[in-house]
């Protein structure tokens, strides 16, 4: 307890400093007076008596010092003092302080911006109570550990009954709906969720409540706002795909049930409708479970595997490879963006290090010019501790200011990054500057402060006061100092080179990607979607005439050359899986290879300009021919897979199972890059749309007209057919293709931005180092000129010194860049890059360093040799 009391008195003493100081002065004065009088009584003169008295005390200043140290918190007071000194000394060099802080704002701000994204996407727990206990359950393949896919509802039902690891379990699937409310048709994206799952999520609606039977729906906040934001909406009836529901509740903003595999934040859900657990709609379900307390991921994984093995035993050999896999929900949400974020964080980190090196260089230069002051301090007894505190305080002051500015910068930078990577950043609305981000910025400032004060501190600790106070700065600001500042610049250039090289590689990659052909002609094609209710899609007598009417209506629009639809747009997610069993008995050699199924209308290949390689395209039949085999068109890679050494035309096969629907190959078309521009095409099989139950028809329309007028006409014509039919997802096909490169483009832009900032900093660093060395070598230069060196010689000498530094930096940077690029090349499948990016980066650095050394070199040539030789620093 006394310790605490003592600490408390010390703290109080800090606050009552001046009062206590005055009191002690009185005390001290009394003591000294008494001593003086005593001395005088012994016969000394007044002044002698006084002097002796002070001596006996041990020195008045020292007494005051000891008193103060015993009284307050000396460490704290030293720190505060150091802070005040630092502030004062920076106020004498405002320009340098400003520049240092500005560089730090960029360095810390970029890193903080990326961190705030990383924090929201990967680190923060999911916004559900006990969010970390949620896992996503996938269908897996025993042969392929990388295979994750959706489950069938038969499986989820059995999992639910037989698991032992969860205290909450449910499943859901996507369910887009045509909604009619207040006479207006909307297309809304929905999720059909089993009732126990929504109850278990633990996030109650903002108004109303969750549904507990099949008649209620819950709207998202966004949809509610679009519909007017009126709380009266509770209880109102809403028609979804012809079925009526009543609105049970509205969710708070930013609530979502993440759908694994879909990173598009734009795929926000508008409505949640109840899912009948007995529904069987194929393999389209995702399941979540909440781990029971005490159950680990491993235990749950084993448990589900056991249930899956039981299912395989029950269902027979057709499901031989089936198993169930678990992934923590938080991970599934961020899985796709994680490598990209890692890359960006690395690049920002490099920029941060460059900023620190820059700062260190600045501080070093300052410490050299204040060498005398430092020498004096050391001579007067400043210990290592005091020096460290002093330099740290100076450095931290600037770094904390930089961090404050950096936080502001990140507030503006982060939304830009997120909008560039539009749709690919999950949990985007959770990105905000919270305590974690502020703490990160503060930590970054501290790290920067410590790192950048190392160089000047090291210098100061090795100062011998006698050297400096005697001869002046010139001699001791010699080799050692130059060595330190040169190393810093080399480090800066090396790091800048890495950023430049990485940026160039990425930019080249994006350029190469955009030149790749997607396999179809995307220019001049507009796409949009029309969705019909499930029951209409299921009935061929309703859907086929409807499809025909739609296509005809669109064809009739003036300016339209071709129109068609498919169940999926190429390059907008892949693919509808198909199981192809050709009659020749071939099986895919690789068990994890997949085949894509596309149900397309007759004009599809013509509209998309996908070239026909052999055979012919299927023609639209007036009705489904139930008896004959389905005519299909296959892609070239499918031919390589199943008919590698025979003509596929006329070959037969079955879908799904050996006794499934029979097909015959009528034509072969070129591959389409359905899995992304830089991926191998997934082998594809096309079947006529009439035979498929398509709920959402993705139309593609080729026309020379601009899209806004065209889409207005499209809407009008479709409204004429059916006023309740909404048109949604309008996009230019060109934009769809571009969007697949969004992540790459974002990263390459950001890296280029970082590289630019790095170059700027390096340029400034080179400039200061070179001008400093020119000043150091003034006498030498003067002598050379006097001995006959021309302007050009001097110029090239100075520039040469700068370029030499650059050369070392480039070599080091080149090695590091090579390692970095090959490590991260796997992220974007960059493939073997040639040396062009490195050559470009070297050239850019050479130019920048030349520009930076230009001014000092030029100034050197302007020196008059006589003045130079007489120059004394």
């Amino acid at each position: 307890m006394t310790r605490l009391e003592e600490a408390l008195s010390r703290v109080l003493a800090v606050f009552r400093r001046s009062r206590l100081d005055r009191d002690f002065e009185d005390e001290l004065a009394t003591h000294v007076a008494l001593l003086t009088e005593q001395n005088m009584r012994q016969g000394m003169s007044r002044s002698e008596a006084r002097r002796r008295a002070a001596l006996k005390m041990g020195g008045l200043t020292q007494t005051r010092d000891f008193h103060r140290e015993a009284r307050g918190l000396p460490r704290l007071e030293h720190i505060v003092q150091a802070g005040v000194h630092a502030w004062r000394s920076w106020s004498h060099a405002k320009a340098v302080a400003f520049f240092a802080s500005a560089a730090l704002v960029v360095g810390i701000g970029s890193t903080t911006a990326i961190y705030s994204v990383v924090n929201a996407v990967m680190l923060k727990p999911l916004p559900y109570p006990d969010g970390d206990r949620f896992v996503a359950v996938f269908r897996g393949n025993l042969q392929n550990p990388q295979f994750y896919s959706a489950l069938r509802s038969e499986d989820t039902e059995r999992l639910q009954v037989r698991h032992r690891s969860f205290d909450a379990f449910g499943w859901f699937r996507g369910a887009g709906k045509n909604m009619m409310i207040a006479g207006q048709p909307y297309y809304v994206s929905g999720l059909a969720v089993t009732v126990p799952l929504v109850q278990a999520i633990g996030v109650p609606p903002a108004i109303g409540r969750w549904f507990d039977d099949e008649t209620g729906v819950v709207l998202s906040n966004g949809l509610w706002q679009r519909l007017g934001g009126n709380p009266d909406i509770l209880g109102q009836t809403v028609t979804l795909d012809g079925q009526t529901y009543s609105v049970n509740g509205v969710m708070p903003t930013s609530f979502r049930l993440p759908v694994p595999g879909m990173t598009g934040a734009g795929l926000g859900t508008d409505v949640w409708i109840p899912l009948d657990p007995r529904e069987r709609a194929g393999a389209a379900y995702f399941a979540y479970g909440r781990l029971r307390p005490g159950v680990t991921m491993g235990m749950a994984d084993d448990d589900l595997r056991r249930v899956a093995a039981d299912i395989v035993a029950e269902d027979g050999p057709s499901r031989a490879n089936f198993t169930a896999r678990l992934v923590p929900l938080r991970e599934t949400v961020s899985r796709q963006v994680r490598p990209t974020l890692g890359l960006l964080l690395g690049a920002a980190g490099l920029l941060f290090l460059i900023t620190c090196a820059n700062e260190a260089g600045l501080l070093l230069a300052r410490s050299v010019s204040r060498a005398q002051e430092t020498a004096l301090r050391v001579a007067l007894g400043a210990g290592t501790g005091r020096l460290i505190v002093h330099y740290l305080a100076e450095s931290l002051l600037v770094c904390l200011a930089g961090a404050a500015g950096g936080v502001l910068l990140s507030v503006t930078l982060t939304p830009t990054i997120v909008s560039m990577a539009e749709g690919f950043v999950p949990r985007a609305d959770e990105i905000a500057v919270d305590w974690s981000v502020l703490a990160f910025a503060f930590a970054a400032a501290v790290v920067a402060g410590v790192l950048s004060s190392l160089a000047p501190l090291w210098q100061a600790l090795r100062t011998r006061p006698a050297d400096i106070l005697g001869d002046g700065v010139r001699t001791s600001a010699s080799r050692r100092n130059r060595g330190a500042s040169h190393s810093l610049i080399i480090a800066e250039i090396a790091l800048a080179f890495v950023l430049l090289a990485a940026g160039s590689v990425l930019v080249a990659h994006v350029r190469a990607l955009s030149r790749l052909s997607p396999g179809f002609d995307a220019d001049g094609v507009l796409s949009f979607a029309v969705s019909i209710p499930g029951h209409v899609a299921a009935d061929p007598d309703q859907r086929i005439p409807l499809q025909r009417r739609l296509v005809d209506a669109i064809d009739a629009i003036p300016g339209v050359e071709d129109a068609a639809f498919a169940q999926l747009l190429p390059m907008k997610g892949c693919c509808w899986p198909a199981n192809v069993i050709p009659d020749n008995g071939r099986v895919a050699s690789n068990p994890s290879s997949r085949t894509s199924l596309m149900a397309v209308s007759e004009g599809y290949f013509r509209t998309m300009r996908i070239p026909l390689k052999s055979g012919q395209l299927f023609r639209e039949a007036p009705a489904i021919d139930e008896s004959g085999p389905i005519p299909v068109v296959v892609s070239e890679s499918l031919v390589k897979l199943y008919w590698p050494d025979q003509n596929p035309l006329g070959a037969f096969g079955h879908f799904d199972r050996p006794d499934g629907p029979r097909f015959t190959v009528v034509g072969v078309v070129a591959d389409v890059k359905n899995a992304g521009l830089d991926n191998e095409s997934v082998p594809e099989i096309y079947r006529p749309a009439a035979g498929s139950r398509i709920e959402t028809m993705r139309f593609v329309v080729r026309s020379s007209r601009a899209d806004t007028s065209l889409i207005a006409d499209v809407r009008r014509h479709i409204q004429n057919l059916d006023p309740t039919q909404p048109v949604h997802d309008v996009e230019l096909m060109h934009a769809v293709v571009q969007k697949t490169m969004t992540l790459e483009r974002t990263v390459s832009l950001m890296t280029a931005f970082f590289a630019g900032a790095a170059l700027l900093l390096a340029m400034f660093g080179v400039y200061s180092v070179v001008s400093y060395s020119v000043r150091q070598r003034t006498v030498e230069i003067g002598m050379r000129m006097a001995l006959g060196a021309t302007h050009r010689t001097v110029f090239s000498m100075v520039v040469g010194s700068g370029l030499k530094l650059a050369a070392v930096g480039v070599v080091i940077g080149g090695v590091a860049a090579n390692a970095a690029v090959s490590y991260h090349g796997s992220v974007f499948r960059l493939g073997d890059s040639d040396y062009a990016p490195y050559a470009y980066s070297t050239a850019i650095i050479a130019v920048v360093v030349f520009a930076a050394s230009f001014l000092p070199a030029w100034r050197a040539t302007l020196m008059s040799p006589l003045v130079a030789m007489r120059n004394r620093l």
Binding site: D23, H31, G58, T63, A70
Partner: protein
């Protein structure tokens, strides 16, 4: 730097001496304590009088002494120190500790001498 090192060694003992002086002499100001210390120790202690004030502050923090303002012999403002109850107890305890410590050290040093140094 070295000055501080020397003082450290004496730090604990000076506090003890001041406590003892205040206990035996009652209320005193800093000058008085210094004179008394000089008197008793026969001037053998080579120390600066100013350090007494640091000791007094430390004792104040530990609530072992209390202060009042008064007037000194030469009509100047001076602070007078006296022991608190806690201070008296602490004095007894620390004096005992000191006794034990010095006797133990004495015994150890005596044995070292027995080996014919």
């Amino acid at each position: 730097m070295s000055q501080a090192g020397k003082l450290d060694l004496l730090k604990g003992t000076l506090d003890l001496l001041v406590l003892q002086i205040l206990s035996s002499m009652g209320e005193m100001h800093g000058y008085g304590i210094a004179r008394r210390l000089e008197q008793i120790s026969g001037d053998e202690l080579a120390m600066n009088e100013g350090t007494i004030y640091a000791a007094l502050i430390r004792l104040q923090h530990r609530k072992l002494i209390k202060t009042t303002w008064g007037t000194s012999e030469n009509n100047r403002r001076a602070k007078y120190y006296s022991l608190t109850r806690a201070g008296e107890k602490a004095l007894v305890a620390e004096a005992a500790t000191w006794e034990r410590l010095s006797s133990v050290i004495g015994r150890v040093l005596a044995t070292a001498g027995a080996r014919g140094r």
